[in-house]
Subunit: 345 residues, 4 copies
């Protein structure tokens, strides 16, 4: 049974530990600077608590490495992991900042970067994957418009805002990756709009809680991303891909097929899936299985550090667009982004 | 423009007058024993008020005859109308009783009966027609089960119950016809169950307000009809046809594509169509157009007096089943029904 | 019965003539420079063919005036109609150009402009109206995001493109009005993106066939409008209003409640309404009824020439944004728009 | 951690072993006459392979007993399990025959029978449970009609038919229990209809593959159950409860919120859940959790051997009805059923 060393023992580490079991693998080692946390996770999983990342990664029964620590430790742990030559899966984001992300790619090189699995788990959501696969299979002919809606049930605590990096880097990062994975085209421009309409204090902290980004690909596909930090009716996560012969929609799945009919409510469906793990739990197991399969076969990871960096680029561009009120063109005068993007392709 | 003489100036006559205009024809003549009613309808339609059915039917600019009077006058007016050799459409039911219906068919003969259009308008409802056409076109392979649900928004006044003929003759008559038109098979047995669960006074009057009938065709298709005199959320009219390769469903259409999402109501659709004319209004125009087309071409009417009589037979059988607690077999020992049915085929 | 003089006897005049009959009024007079067209419409409606607009508008039995001619004649006919002091309904757009529209408002003044009913019929679509009414009634608390999708079944002939004024003025004009009527807020900025992705020849003619516009209101609501000149599955017309306590959706209504289930197609709904009149026909009757009601009561028209002008301003801004690649700010440095908009408020 | 002894190591035992793990308990012991099967399950679960049921049930770390063997061994194992005084969950059916079921209840007595959990897992399906809970909470006022549809994706092998006990005992048994659990009323009559319409060889073997049963409760609720051994589009499992103030529907859940729109398919939903474990897997975990909770608290089991027997009575009545062509009255002249039922209440 494949043994995995987990870096971190916090919330995302627990999510991944469950997914590891569901994928038929096992947690072999755990490192977390907070020893009590590591021990708690060890008690649940049977993994060995290690004193350092090096020790955990080096264990003989560790076949693969999972990085599920806080964002600011990702690149240094990644460097260590890559050095072991063992397969590695890093939870998103790739790095704490765009510059760090760029430096990481530059340091390991593109080939190694493509071997690092980057955990954009939403790609493995059943409905979202159906849209992507349908677009790629030509089910709607040429893609013309793409609309991605991501709304969280409720805003994070206000004190999280300053260290979040802003909505585009923290929340929309998933949607930037989704846009790239569905279109498979280079993004030519990014235009962002945003409001602190849910909570004006978010605006005072320099961030927004409601946003819309329009991107145009080099082939003219218009991508619209809608984000909100709050959604009264659950976890609103939809994708609409529109093309020459039709449309593919990933609508919100519901808790069951239960519907009530009354005079006041002539057809009320069951609630949509309300919490993160209810909606996306199964996608983490699918992710681990794919990671282990690719590792076994020595293939490039289908979603990797390059993808992580590209999503960071788009988040950076969106942040810049919001700040400047300008459209950021990624293959024109905004040379810096263009360089990065072309280098990374 | 085709001129039509309407017998009757009441509620159904008005429905048909509107449908006549919508079908590009005109009301040429009106007869109603209540002259004021006839005059009111004449004022709206421009039709000539006549002193007798004979006069109205005989007018030179009357090309076709519509019978929309009370049920107890249908067969005598039909006899007059058939005698004119002009095309005739008779509102359902064919007759006030099963015996009257049987006598009418016997008197005019099968060939003439097939020239009388019988107004089972629900056949022309867009969703219901799609189910029937799909079944006939083989969209679900061999038909195996058929479920017809018909629930009215609210019960009729209690004083209507004694003169209604009972739920099976008054309300389920449409569903018996629907079952025959979809299956296109002979009915072998009828088993009825019913309750006066909405209003016990209905039970004291010898009727039921909630009922279920199971019929089995000679080829083994099981047909279930569900009726209720009351439905809190509107006019609940559905059909489900199940066969070897799939299912066809005619669900309740809604007032619009409006849906509300909130914490308390995570996806509430717009109301279903609530009133008779809102749901079935368009079916009357479609009916008139088909009637006029068939008349023009001299064809047998696709829904005719034979169908009216067969539906009456099934209502009679259901009434007998409820009363006796027995399954009524239509091609076996229950000779009387069998004779009628075979004679009428 | 209210008598209406129709200017024009073309396609939209016929649509309105039918709506006039459906609203319980009558066509009293018709003017069209093509006399044969006027006579054809007169034969259907009974209206009197007139030799000039003046004559038609002046007839004693003309109580109200409908302008349904080509766009380039709207303002001159409006001037004549306003001079009669009879109520007037003008088909959209208000004028052939933004400048003409501005000049018209300036010439008649705001008070008179508010008495001219401007035919943005989509406001009266049942589903769309439910969204607007719900937002205004507070059903979703404070509005935060609004998404309007409008896709036509198929592109207009290529030779129409040069004289259409471009997609924003010709097609998105409805959506600009919809955005204003739902938000009831001033628009602070307009950013347009577009592609000639359906047909590159449209691009050679200087227009786009696929577009996305983002507008931000002065209160921070983010409005996204998506347009396409082609939709393989019918007339795709949806609105999604998202707010603090929920979401209101006007989804595409369907031809019926028919659904097919098979191995290959496990739940395929009936087609959405495919043609303009199938989807929006009822909205024209509702529009006429409201127009006549307001005229009778001497009220300002709820959708009037000011609205027509404001929508034209937004179309102008979107056109400018697409051309310049810049966001057009309507209450800031782009003084010209700001002036117009403020003057018109 | 609660230790459970599983009797049996076949298909259902594996289902339950997975559910035991999911419920936070563990398999402590396994008995199966086929030792290899027991050992295989032991390898997966860590349970101890035992040489006899007695041995397994008696182990000190066995806190509860699960019977998941073939139906003909249920009652003898149940007798042994009840004698241990440990909590026991028996997979449905309670017994191989109605007579055996009756004898078991008589031998252990009603009080002990109510302590035996009977595995009608569908009660714990999320959508179905919502209907039941809604009905019990009064969400639709007084219940008037109940329609239960259960259609399997494909028929069992033909050689299974003779030993299945027939469709009513083998397949509809779940629906009889569902009807009882939703109505919470005594059944007054059972009328069955059936056809061997999918495969005539089933008819030659004396069984049916398509059936409809109508039951009327003592309070007049009309229950309709529709069964088919084959459904082209998946596992068709629906419930519709209709009452005085509305309707509750448990529709088929879908694999995701994915929908495709094209000219040919204007809105095709994702497939419904196709396989038994995909649809009902979660219900087994919920069942085990409830069983362990009730055992811990010493409560009567909410679904118990009495329920198992009552469902067997209804299956027996339906079988008799189909054979005789008569309605079976359970509280009237059909004394034998009445006795059993009243004794068992």
């Amino acid at each position: 049974m494949t043994g995995i060393a987990i870096m971190g023992a916090g919330r995302m580490a627990k999510v991944h530990a469950a997914a590891i079991a569901g994928a038929g693998a096992r947690v072999a080692a755990i490192y977390d600077p907070v020893t009590a946390a590591a021990e708690a996770l060890a008690a649940q999983t049977g993994g060995q608590v290690c004193a350092s990342p090096e020790q955990a990664m080096a264990l003989a029964d560790v076949d693969a490495i999972m990085i599920a620590t806080s964002s600011d430790t990702h690149v240094s742990l990644l460097a260590q992991a890559v050095a072991t030559a063992k397969p590695v899966l890093c939870e998103k984001p790739l790095a704490a900042s765009y510059e760090e992300s760029r430096a990481f790619i530059a340091s390991v090189g593109e080939a190694a970067a493509r071997k690092v699995f980057l955990g954009f788990n939403r790609r493995f959501d059943r409905g979202h994957a159906s849209v992507r696969e349908g677009v790629h299979a030509g089910a709607i002919g040429r893609l013309e418009q793409l609309v991605i809606t991501s709304r969280d049930p409720s805003p994070p605590p206000l004190d999280y805002v300053p260290r979040s990096g802003g909505l585009f880097r923290d929340m929309m990062i998933h949607d930037f990756d989704m846009a790239r994975s569905i279109t498979r085209q280079e993004i030519a421009s990014v235009t962002a709009h945003g409001s602190a309409i849910i909570d004006p204090r978010v605006g005072e902290l320099g961030d927004v809680d409601t946003a819309s980004v329009t991107m145009v690909t080099t082939e003219g596909v218009i991508v619209t991303i809608l984000n909100s930090r709050r959604c009264a009716f659950g976890f609103d996560q939809r994708i609409e891909a529109f093309g020459e012969t039709g449309m593919l929609l990933s609508d919100n799945p519901r808790q069951s097929g239960f519907t009530t009919y009354s005079a006041a409510s002539p057809g009320t469906a069951a609630p949509i899936l309300e919490f993160f793990m209810e909606r996306y739990g199964p996608s983490y197991s699918a992710e681990i299985r794919l990671f282990l399969d690719c590792a076994r076969e020595g293939r490039d990871m289908p979603v990797n550090a390059i993808d992580g960096h590209m999503a960071a680029c788009l988040a950076e561009a969106a942040t810049a667009s919001l700040k400047t009120g300008q459209t950021i063109r990624l293959t024109g005068p905004d040379q810096d982004f263009a360089e990065i993007l072309h280098a990374a392709q």
